[in-house]
């Protein structure tokens, strides 16, 4: 009994000593964060819809580290130091793609040495301005103006504008409890658009809702949103 016990002690001790340094690799420590902005203002998007690829060359095959932008256009990655290349594929996002020509999107080169922050300046097709959301007797109302940004051959029309009411902070086309939509043809003045929707009975009951306004642009999948606001019923 005694020799076996000693062997076990020795074995455990040995593996602990040997594996300690050799087996464990330093975890990635450099935090790359950033945001999609237009003239310094964050662009609000639908979460899990607008994707980007992050490449690092020099290690054989170059598969992309992919991820999606959050609802406030932010992203974050914990990485090793190195040279990275970020690509937002053309057709992703409600903004003019950072395309240089051909089918290749122009990459954003990132030389990561320690944590860094990166703001990606884009030209959205449209923006929502002066959005104000209010609630009275169970009806959410919103007033806002629309402004076209992308011009020339990049200009695109609005298809519709929708007010989303949700039980969670994700007030968008995928998770909502009530919507109200106005088609572009029915908008008389893009400088003064209003939408309102009744808050339905919430199951289980809660005394607050979130709301946001989204603009669907013709021929583009991803919508542009106003900041989500929490409102007490």
């Amino acid at each position: 009994m005694k020799p076996i016990f000693q062997y076990i002690i020795l074995f455990v001790l040995g593996t602990t000593l040997v594996s300690c340094e050799l087996d464990n690799v330093e975890p990635p420590k450099s935090l790359l964060t950033g945001q999609i902005v237009y003239q310094g203002t964050p662009l609000h998007l639908e979460p899990n819809r607008v994707s980007f690829d992050l490449y690092q060359d020099g290690f054989g095959k170059t598969g992309a580290l992919g991820s999606n932008f959050d609802k406030d256009g932010a992203f974050s990655h914990l990485l090793f130091d190195g040279e990275y290349k970020m690509v937002i594929p053309s057709g992703q996002g409600p903004f003019v793609s950072l395309e240089t020509g051909g089918s290749e999107t122009s990459p954003i080169n990132i030389n990561l040495r320690g944590s860094a922050s990166l703001n990606i300046e884009v030209v959205p097709y449209w923006v929502i301005k002066n959005a104000s959301l209010s609630i009275s007797s169970g009806t959410v109302s919103s007033d806002f103006a629309l402004e076209q940004i992308a011009a020339g051959s990049d200009a695109k029309n609005i298809e519709r504008v929708t007010l989303y009411i949700s039980k969670t902070q994700f007030a968008n086309s995928q998770t909502n409890v009530a919507t109200s939509t106005i088609q572009m043809g029915d908008i008389t003045d893009i400088n003064a658009v209003s939408l309102s929707a009744q808050v339905p009975d919430l199951v289980p009951a809660q005394d607050y809702v979130f709301a946001s306004v989204g603009v669907k642009i013709a021929g583009v999948d991803d919508m542009i949103f106003s900041p989500t606001e929490k409102m007490n019923l």
Partner: protein, 636 residues
């Protein structure tokens, strides 16, 4: 010393005696392995290799995988499997389709077809057999490229078996994508060659024939034509080098090719094909029989064959009506009301199923099937309706008893009896043996069952036997509708009406359509109801570029459901159902009559939202890594 001599002698003798017979003994040809040369010396061997290639033909839609028919709200999936959580998966990019069939990239199959074509050249089999076998393999290769083209647009066209020379530089093996135009042109020109090389034999259903080559040509050309014309509706779905996107100027040429190929089949130059009309007395059963009758069926041009004991599928098992079924299984794919109501009335008009009258009161029907009266016979041939039967056994579909005060008594077990029904002296059955029970799976959750491709043969619903109903790849009705579509697009709606009326007459329509009736919506609608649950509809959504309008992420309201029927871009983001209720009110003349209510299952919570990128399948990173010459898809 003496011993050494003996040993020496023994060694010597063994050398001498073994010397010659060693080669005989050791160099025996293996009995389990056949060399390539041997395989191609015998005609039957070659045929068995070809049979393997036939067995591997690709389709996104397969009878041995019922799930492949389950998307896009033409059916509701009432089965407890991985799909339940995956409804509305076309919300996201990339959408791989069910079991990722939309992302097939089987160049192993292409390589083996190419190897077959190269090796058969030196085979000593008779020349006429050799040329037919060669043409069949070329047909299968073109067919796979056509399926790839539908999913990806342009793909690398590889027509020889590639071999790596181990030089360390594989770049000479990396073929870039063709343009979308080139891949369709390739399929069309292969079909042009093959139609004279393949036998004009309409009896040959599961092997390539002249008719199959022409059908493939017509389908490829009409797809290419519609992509050229309607691709303009989604300008962001294109690639600058043309891997996706066909110039609009080519549309007319493609439609002409399609019309010519279809006309050749219709004129009988590939042998006699005709619409299936063996049972003119019962048009519904006639339409259903088209799919299960393999005995001299004049409509089938090419099919993926199933045969009892060799190659069977369980489509009938998973979709059969539950009551009295051969297994305690069935009702997995139940057609949605969206599909059912799109079948026209016999006066060529569209109407929702009449559940309420003008003032909103329910309409009482004496018999369950009365609500479906005077509709397209294809409805009953495609869907098992309440009041109809399967395998001579009436289905028992009703959701509950409705009392005089409007309240409903229902149950949560199939065929449940309850003795607490007010006004009843004895226990009453409160729900049908076939459902619908919304909280349960595998019953008529929408109020309907699937009929198309269900096999009425005894044993088809048993796991030990299964079904040998074959999947039809090309049939004569599709040729007629391709001819109709091409004629319409070429500005001859009168001819289009003529072709379409042939198909509609078989469905029981007595008033022919005239030139003025033919519109884009009519063309799309006719294909949707004729080919419902066969798979064509899904590819039509893509090539007509209407999917993003039909699946726009907005839920379907009841009013929305009942309006705009027959419109090609009608919203269909959620699958609705239609439940029959029996009136239980002994004092009323309506006692025992039926009313219907539209229902949306509480399991449907999302609304399909088609992403523009999904018009073409994603090319996986693995593939892109192995071949840097491949262009990425739009959105990728």
């Amino acid at each position: 010393m003496k011993n050494i001599n003996i040993i020496f002698l023994t060694i010597l003798i063994s050398f001498i005696s073994s010397c010659e017979s060693d080669t005989d003994f050791l160099d025996r040809p293996p009995v389990e392995v056949i060399s390539t040369e041997q395989a191609f010396t015998d005609q039957n061997q070659v045929l068995s290799i070809l049979a393997n290639l036939y067995d591997r033909q690709f389709s996104v839609y397969r009878l041995n995988d019922w799930q492949s028919f389950s998307d896009f709200n033409e059916v509701f999936v009432s089965s407890n499997d991985n799909l339940t959580a995956r409804w509305h998966t076309n919300n996201t990019w990339p959408f791989g389709g069910i079991n990722n069939y939309w992302t097939t990239w089987d160049y192993t199959y292409i390589r083996e077809l190419n190897l077959f074509l190269e090796r058969i050249v030196d085979s000593p089999i008779p020349d006429n057999v050799k040329s037919t076998f060669t043409a069949e393999a070329r047909f299968l290769r073109a067919l796979y490229y056509l399926e790839m083209a539908k999913l990806y647009g342009g793909v690398p066209i590889i027509l020889e078996s590639q071999t790596y020379d181990f030089s360390g530089d594989p770049s000479y093996l990396q073929v870039p994508r063709s343009t979308e135009e080139e891949i369709y042109d390739f399929v069309i020109s292969e079909a042009e060659d093959l139609k004279s090389l393949l036998p004009a034999n309409p009896e040959s259903k599961s092997r390539a024939s002249m008719g199959a080559a022409l059908a493939m040509q017509a389908q490829a050309a009409v797809y290419a034509g519609s992509l050229a014309k309607y691709g303009a509706n989604t300008p962001s779905v294109s690639l600058p080098a043309g891997e996706i996107g066909i110039p609009a100027s080519r549309a007319d040429a493609y439609y002409t090719t399609a019309l010519n190929a279809a006309t050749e089949v219709i004129n009988g130059s590939a042998g006699t094909y005709a619409l299936y009309k063996k049972n003119p007395g019962n048009l519904q059963e006639n339409f259903a029989a088209l799919f299960y009758d393999s005995d001299a069926n004049p409509e089938i041009i090419f099919m993926e064959e199933y045969k009892l004991k060799f190659r069977t599928h369980g489509f009938t098992i998973v979709n059969q009506p539950r009551f009295g079924a051969e297994e305690e299984e069935g009702g997995a794919l139940v057609p949605s009301l969206n599909l059912v109501q799109s079948f026209e009335l016999l006066d060529n008009t569209f109407a929702p199923l009449a559940t309420v009258d003008g003032s909103g009161d329910p309409i009482y029907y004496d018999n369950q099937e009365d609500i479906f009266a005077n509709r397209d016979a294809r409805l009953g041939g495609t869907v098992i309706l309440p009041g109809s039967s399967f395998k001579s056994r009436p289905v028992d579909i009703f959701a509950g008893l409705q009392l005089s005060d409007g309240s409903v008594i229902a149950g949560d077990e199939r065929g449940q009896l309850r003795d607490d029904v007010p006004g009843a002296t004895e226990a009453q059955q409160v729900v049908g043996f076939d459902g619908p029970i919304g909280s349960r799976i595998q019953n008529a959750v929408t109020g309907f069952y699937t009929r198309k491709y269900l096999d009425p043969a005894p044993g088809s619903g048993r796991r030990g036997t299964q079904s040998e109903v074959s999947r039809i790849q090309f049939r004569y009705a599709e040729i007629l509708l391709i001819a109709a579509e091409a004629s319409f697009e070429l500005g001859d709606p009168a001819a289009a009406a003529g072709f379409m009326n042939q198909v509609r007459e078989r469905a029981g329509f007595t008033i022919p359509l005239v030139a003025g009736d033919i519109t884009f919506d009519r063309i799309v609608h006719e294909r949707r109801v004729e080919f419902a649950l066969e798979g064509q509809y899904f590819m039509d959504l893509k090539r007509f570029r209407i999917a993003h309008q039909i699946f726009d992420g907005t839920p379907v309201t009841l009013n929305g459901l009942k309006s705009d029927i027959g419109l090609a871009t009608k919203r269909s983001t959620q699958p609705w159902g239609l439940w029959p209720y029996k009136i239980f009110d002994p004092a009323s003349p309506n006692h025992g009559k039926w009313i219907y209510k539209e229902v949306l299952s509480n399991r449907v919570t999302g609304a399909d939202n088609w992403q523009l990128g999904n018009y073409y399948s994603i090319i996986n990173n693995d593939i892109l890594n192995n071949n840097p010459k491949l262009t990425r898809q739009p959105n990728q």
